[in-house]
């Protein structure tokens, strides 16, 4: 008995895209802290790819940039209220 006419409420999932490829940014600057804040959650942890929608190449660049910024105390390693 297949659910033929059963309305499957599949929420319209917006297609995630990699913002770097779309806007043509080639280099993620580790000195620009307030841009990197977009990729951190409230505790200052790096957001996973499935949330940010980045491609593998740019997620790695962001991760390297965030770790460098943390080394230079531009970004905290852990905090309770980042935003």
């Amino acid at each position: 008995m297949t659910l033929v006419n059963e309305p499957i409420n599949r929420t319209q999932r917006i297609k995630k895209y990699c913002r770097f490829r779309k806007s043509g940014i080639k280099y993620v600057d580790y000195k620009d802290a307030n841009f990197l804040l977009r990729f951190l959650n409230e505790q200052g942890k790096i957001l996973p790819r499935r949330i940010t929608g980045n491609s593998v190449k740019f997620q790695k660049k962001v991760a390297v940039a965030v770790k460098r910024a943390r080394q230079l105390a531009l970004l905290p390693y852990v905090t309770d209220s980042l935003k």
Partner: protein, 124 residues
Amino acid sequence: MELNQYETVFILTPVLSDEQMKDAVEKFRNVLKKNEVEFVGDENWGLKKLAYPILHKNTGFFHLFEFKANPTVIAALELEFRRDEKVLRFMTVKLDKHSIEFNARRRNGEFNKKSEDKKEGTAA
């Protein structure tokens, strides 16, 4: 040996007076000048709040050097950084072609504060 392009950011302790700060920066610039380094850029971010205390200090005096140099020069520079106790932290980064182009654009003010987010940020 062909020259690579490097970028060094270092943090000086905030306890220094102004001219001590200046001649500390001068000292490192002379270290670079001695080994025939070609300076590309130089930025002074001044006193900034640190995200976490380093050596019990909450603010630091940031300075950025950008230069073309032989790889051997970096060891000498970093040795100098390690010796000097006024330096809280330093980081030298080798620049690839994307970052060189990015820094060039950044230096001639393409990313001023207003359009910083537009250019850098999301295109959504």
